[in-house]
Every structure is written in C-alpha cells, then in structure tokens.
C-alpha cells in the first residue's frame, strides 16, 4: 500500500490505538492536517497554545494509562511544546510529540520557522528522531510508541520535515520492535528479593514509600497486600498519592517538604524503608545525608539509574513494581509491628498537621477539604504548582487509584487546566476538577476557549490569594519578609468565564464553599469557581530548603494551640 508520509503518520497512530490528538496546525504540518479528515477515528483537539496541548496529552496519558499524543508545527510551535515535554518526561508519563520541520532542502539554512528542535528536546525526552524519509516513518513510529510505553515511561519526540510528509512510500507497519539491549527487565533478581524479604521480616520499624511507579505499573493490590500482611505503614511521595487508599489505617500521608510532620519525624526512626517506584527525590527526602539515618533502604524501581543516585541503597531491585511485589510477597511473613504503629500514633498526636487554623474566614485548605466532601473523594483532581497544590495533596483523601494529576518533577505552573482537560477526555464520565492558583491560572487560561469549542466539561477552582503564594511564603520565611514581585493582580474571573460562555461562581465565605462547588458540578458543561481566600496563609508543615526532614517546621498556630491544651 503506497501512501503519503502524512497518511503513514495517521495510519501509524491508528495502529497504535490512538483516539485523541492534541494539536495546533501550522505551515510545516499542513500535509498532516490535510489528511486528518480522512481519519475520523482520530479526534483532534484544537488547543490555544502548544504547551497546553502537551499538558493535555500528559493529563490524558496519566488517566488513560496509555500514550498521549500532541502535535505542533516547526519553529515556535515546536519550541512552545518543550515545557510540556519536559514536564511529562520528569514525571515518567508516556507521550509522543510530533513536530513538523522545514522541508529537507531547507534544513540548516535558517529557513522561515526553522528550529533545530531535536537539538532542543534531546536532553528533556526519552528519545527523539528526525525522520529522513517517508519509508522511515512507520518503523520510527513503532519504535517510538514502544519506547514511550515500555520500561520507565517517557516522552518520545518525532520531528518530520514537510516534504517527508508529502513523499510517497510503501506502508507496512512493523508488528514488533527489536531493541535487545534496551528490553526493560520486569522481574527482579530472586537473590535480591530474598535479601529484601529478610530485611523486611527482621524489621522492627519498617516504612513503605510508595511513588508514581506503583500507579504506572498498577501495583495497587500488591502494595496493599504487602502493607497489610506485614502491617507496614505507607507514605507517599507527591506523585505517589492515590497509589494507596488515603483513609486506610496504615496510610500516613505525604512525606517531604510539605509532608506531614509525623511522617517526616517518623522517617528518622524507621529501621527499614522500602521505596517502591519512587526516585528518592530531594523534595521528598530533605537533606540527603541526614535522611533516615537508622534505616536500611530497599529500592524497587524499573530504572536502575535511580539506585544510589541520591542515597545509598542497601538492597536495590531493578524491575517492574507489580512484578517484583508479586515475587516478594510469598517471602514476607505476617507481622504486627504493634509497638511501631503505636509510636506513629503518638507522633500523630504530638505533631498534628491537618487542622485548619481558622474556621471563620475562607482558608485555602477549606477548598480542598470541601472538594473531598462534595465529590465523595471520587473526582480526578488536576493541580497547578505551589501552595494550592500542596494543600490539595494534604487536605484531600485519595481513596481511589490515580486521582491526583499534578506536576511533580518540573513543577509547571498552569498545569491544572490543560491536564484536567486531558484527563476528562480520557475518562469522559468521571468528575474532573482543575484546582489552580491565581498565578498559574493566568498562565494557561486561554484554554477556556478550547473547553467550550471542544466541549470538555471540566470544573475549575481558582484558589485566589492575590499572591504568587509559595514564592511569597519563601520571601516571608527565608528572605527577611521582603515581598518582591509576588503581589499579583488578576481579572474578574467570573466575568472572564462568562466572556468565554462559561458560568462563573465566586465566594469568600467558608459556609458557601460546598454550595458553589455543587452549583458548578450541577452545570452541564465547564464551570469555574473563584475562591477569594486568606491572602497570607502559609503552607505547613514545611521543611526549609536544604534542611533535613527532622527539621520540619510545624504550623506555629497549631503549636500554640497544642501548648494550651
């Protein structure tokens, strides 16, 4: 079958089971857009900015559990994608990014809208290609999808010159991809598994750190079985949230810079820590050299380059989380750890971290807690980055798998709205909320038009404190209270929503929070709620930058209240 390069691209996407593409047309991708109407099974979402197209593909991929696809044209279309690609790669999200490139004879001549985009994306993707001929397209797509999905998932970028899209070639989609040296190892080394089991069985004060890898490999049941069988408490990294039920008695909460104080202190007392599908990140561990000084570390991860990167691992096990846990479970002896669990309860009592300090005024924490109430904790929540993100991680109990879609590694403000849109397209029947700060929202709000045009009924909560809140908090605590460029004006968000044809609600009253959230959910379509919250609320607990987890600062108001008791 002889097809044009553009047709081969579409055929390849169809073969890989793609149903949605997030894209933006332009000169160098015109041949692709020309043939797109011939493929009605591919839904194209016309975004308003390529970065958001990448974030939508990211949100879509995380919720769908499969590859997300985004398209941009050459030059600015491609460079606009870069933030979104880096974001997805840092959070191990499977994605394919397709960009147009100027025609082969123009490459290297600084042609109009030419950019050496494979040179730009190279350090921020898992792999990339500059396709040299139409005949290379099908094998390239097959390899790209295989790489994006397999092992530690990631972003693969394919740059395709315009004349390659027009060139004719025989289309024959490869049925398998052979990269023998790449083949990710799913099963863990049996000897290492035995050594890990021995450590776990002998542990007096074990803790599990469950990360994003648990979600990516779907190891929910195995994680729960391990925790329950040996009565091991579970903590989460930010991206690991919703890998373990949030109201489970063994669940301790998030660790790290804004983790629960009892978790951060408890880490210092643990004797064995089992890290599953997480990368010992600096925001989670605090100062590396002081992390869990008494603990032996077991590390289960598909990516061996994460072992010994930040902390020295006692027993590394390279493999897929689900597969390795299945191998490990038969070796684990049932245990109770009653003393250790009692000690943790004591830590919880001594270091409360989840009281909302003021119930008269609307605090940002109220929004997250109310969201939990009105959605029964079933909603998919996408967040931006900053204070609201941390509160959303702390004050919502994620009982259902894979419910928090957030930008962890890169920390990309403005992620919430486009990621929520992608999530909603992946799960059209699910309730999806974008929770975003006023700063972040103003970075990607143009996608409101996409919501309306493409009928993507996400609900949006803007947690507006009139500041770049997390930066303000750092300036308050670590920069002599000097507020520099953090007070931020925004538009009238309700009117803004109305300008896009979206109903908007607003409140600054704590007793109205649930009502406005319900009103937004009752509306059949996208809806926006503007919360005017306490301006200078700080996010606690907090580990100061560069400090150890044991140096966690607790909310001074809670400390005072506790002292009065």
């Amino acid at each position: 079958m002889r097809l044009s390069g553009a047709q081969i691209i579409m055929e390849s996407l169809v073969r890989e089971g793609v149903d949605t593409i997030f894209g933006y047309p332009g000169g160098a991708v015109l041949p692709m857009y020309h043939v797109m109407p011939e493929y009605p099974q591919l839904r194209h979402i016309l975004v308003r900015h390529e970065q958001c197209g990448a974030h939508m593909a990211d949100g879509y991929a995380r919720v769908k559990g499969d590859v997300g696809v985004c398209i941009g044209t050459s030059g600015p279309g491609a460079t606009n994608l870069v933030t979104g690609l880096c974001n997805a790669q840092m959070d191990s999200v499977p994605m394919i990014a397709i960009t147009g490139q100027v025609a082969r004879p123009f490459i290297g001549r600084d042609a109009f809208q030419e950019c050496d985009i494979t040179g730009v994306t190279l350090p921020v993707v898992k792999h990339n290609y500059l396709v040299r001929s139409a005949a290379e397209l099908a094998p390239t797509f097959a390899e790209a999808f295989y790489l994006a999905r397999s092992g530690r998932p990631g972003v693969v970028h394919i740059d395709i010159p315009k004349d390659v899209q027009l060139e004719l070639a025989e289309f024959d989609y490869p049925t398998n991809v052979s990269l023998p040296w790449y083949e990710p190892k799913l099963e863990g080394n049996p000897e290492a598994i035995k050594r890990a089991a021995k450590l776990i069985n002998e542990a007096k004060r074990p803790v599990i750190i469950a990360g994003h890898g648990v979600i990516l490999s779907g190891a929910y049941a195995e994680l729960r079985e391990l925790a329950e069988k040996a009565q091991i408490p579970v903590v989460n990294t930010l991206l690991g949230i919703s890998s373990f039920p949030g109201t489970h008695p063994l669940f301790l909460g998030m660790m790290g810079m804004h983790g629960m104080a009892w978790v951060n202190y408890g880490m210092g007392e643990a004797d064995v820590i089992i890290g599953i599908g997480q990368r010992w990140d600096d925001r989670a561990l605090g100062r590396f050299v002081d992390f869990a000084p008494q603990a032996k570390l077991i590390h289960i991860d598909i990516d061996p380059s994460e072992t010994d990167k930040n902390v020295k691992i006692t027993v590394p096990i390279t493999g897929d989380a689900k597969t390795v846990l299945r191998q490990l479970l038969p070796h684990i002896q049932p245990a109770h750890h009653a003393e250790w669990l009692a000690r943790i309860d004591e830590l919880k009592r001594e270091h409360p971290s989840l009281e909302i300090p003021n119930n008269d005024r609307l605090m940002p924490q109220h929004v997250s807690r109310a969201l939990y109430e009105v959605t029964n904790g079933e909603a998919y929540i996408a967040t931006g980055v900053g204070q609201h993100q941390m509160w959303q991680a702390q004050y919502f109990w994620y009982d259902h798998p894979n419910r928090l879609i957030t930008s962890g590694g890169l920390g990309t403000m403005g992620f919430a709205l486009p990621a929520a849109m992608g999530a909603k397209i992946a799960k059209p029947d699910a309730m999806v909320w974008a929770v975003e700060g006023d700063g972040g929202f103003q970075m990607t709000l143009q996608e409101l038009a996409t919501c309306v045009q493409e009928n993507i009924p996400v609900k949006i909560a803007i947690v507006d404190n009139g500041y770049l809140g997390m930066v303000r908090q750092w300036q308050e605590l670590f920069h002599d209270n000097r507020y520099s460029q953090v007070a931020m004006l925004g538009p009238d968000y309700v009117k803004l929503a109305e300008a896009y044809g979206i109903p908007g609600f607003r409140t600054d009253r704590v007793d109205e929070v649930e009502d406005v959230l319900r009103a937004a959910m009752a509306h059949d379509g996208p809806a926006l709620v503007h919360f005017l919250v306490e301006a200078e609320e700080n996010c606690y607990p907090m580990v100061p930058p560069g400090a150890a987890l044991s140096e966690t600062i607790k909310d001074p108001r809670l400390e005072r209240a506790l002292a009065r008791v």
Partner: protein
C-alpha cells in the same frame, strides 16, 4: 572532591545524533571530555567509542548509568579499574632542517615510531602508544620546535585475560557455585 581519570567504552548504534546524546550527559554536569575516539565496531551498524574524562567517581557512576539509559547506547562500561590496553596515535610536525634529520630519525627509531612525511625544513612523526609514551616523545621533540600536534585520544580495550576472568566470575555466579 578529587577528580579521577576515567576511561569509558561505549558500543552505540551508528546514528546521527548519538554523539550529542552522550556528550550532553557530560555537558549538563560541566564535565569536560578530555579525549574521544569513535569508529566502527565488529558489528555492522554499531560504533565503539572510548571517552576519557576527569570526574568524581560518584558522578561518573551516574553518568555511566544514564548513558546506559540512552536508547542508542547498546553497552557502556567504565573500565578505569580494569586491566586494559590503552593506545593513541599522534602525529607531530616538527622543525627539521637537513642537519637535524639524522638526530630525529634516531629518536623516532628509539620510540618505534615512523616518519610519515618529509619536507625541506620539517617532518611529520607518527607515533602509537599509551599517553605517557606520546607525552614523553613530545617533550623530547619540543626543543626542535613543534609546529603542530594532532592526537586521536586513547582507544581502550579490556585485556583478554581480564575478560576471561570476568566471564568466569559471571559463569560462577550464574550457576550459583
């Protein structure tokens, strides 16, 4: 922390951009590549690289692991602590008026090197050996007036005996003996 000399051998897919991918991992850590030699390997479509760098051991471990993650990299080993043969080739253009020729021919002979070009007032000496041999020849030629030096950078191979030992160890581990 002290920087140590490292020699890293990579087997890579012979594709455009593969060098950039590898070099990029060193660049992001501001590690300078001291030497680099690339050429075809025994397998068609695969090239073998030898990279010489100065870097902290912990950092180099990470770089090597991250090199291994690159899709185009088939195999990567830091052979710094192994028994290896390491050679490079250098060509040295040195001033050589007719009256100095005999001296320079003798010196070249001592170093088991060869004169590959002779001009009216200069010659090119080609030498092969480990870096210290090349360095010492250059030192001896310096007084004559060196015009130009080109060095390939070292290529390295793990010694056959070491490879056999390693293979035997792996075999013993595999059978659990």
């Amino acid at each position: 922390m002290a920087a140590n000399k490292h020699t890293i051998i990579l087997l890579v897919r012979n594709r455009p951009g593969v060098l950039t991918r590898i070099a990029s991992l060193f660049r992001r850590r501001l590690i300078n590549i001291e030497s680099l030699a690339v050429g075809h390997s025994e397998t068609p479509g695969m090239s073998r690289m030898t990279i010489g760098v100065d870097g902290e051991n912990v950092t180099m471990d990470q770089v090597v692991k991250q090199c291994q993650k690159l899709v185009d990299v088939v195999k990567v080993v830091d052979v710094s602590s192994e028994q290896t043969v390491q050679h490079e080739l250098a060509m040295i253009m040195v001033d050589c008026p007719p009256e100095k020729r005999a001296e320079l021919v003798a010196l070249t002979d001592i170093y088991k090197s060869s004169i590959v070009d002779v001009g009216p007032d200069a010659i090119i000496i080609e030498t092969v050996g480990d870096e210290s041999k090349v360095d010492s020849l250059i030192d001896l030629l310096a007084p004559y007036g060196i015009r130009e030096i080109v060095r390939t950078g070292r290529v390295a191979m793990v010694r056959t005996s070491a490879a056999v030992d390693d293979g035997r160890k792996r075999f013993i581990r595999a059978i659990g003996a």
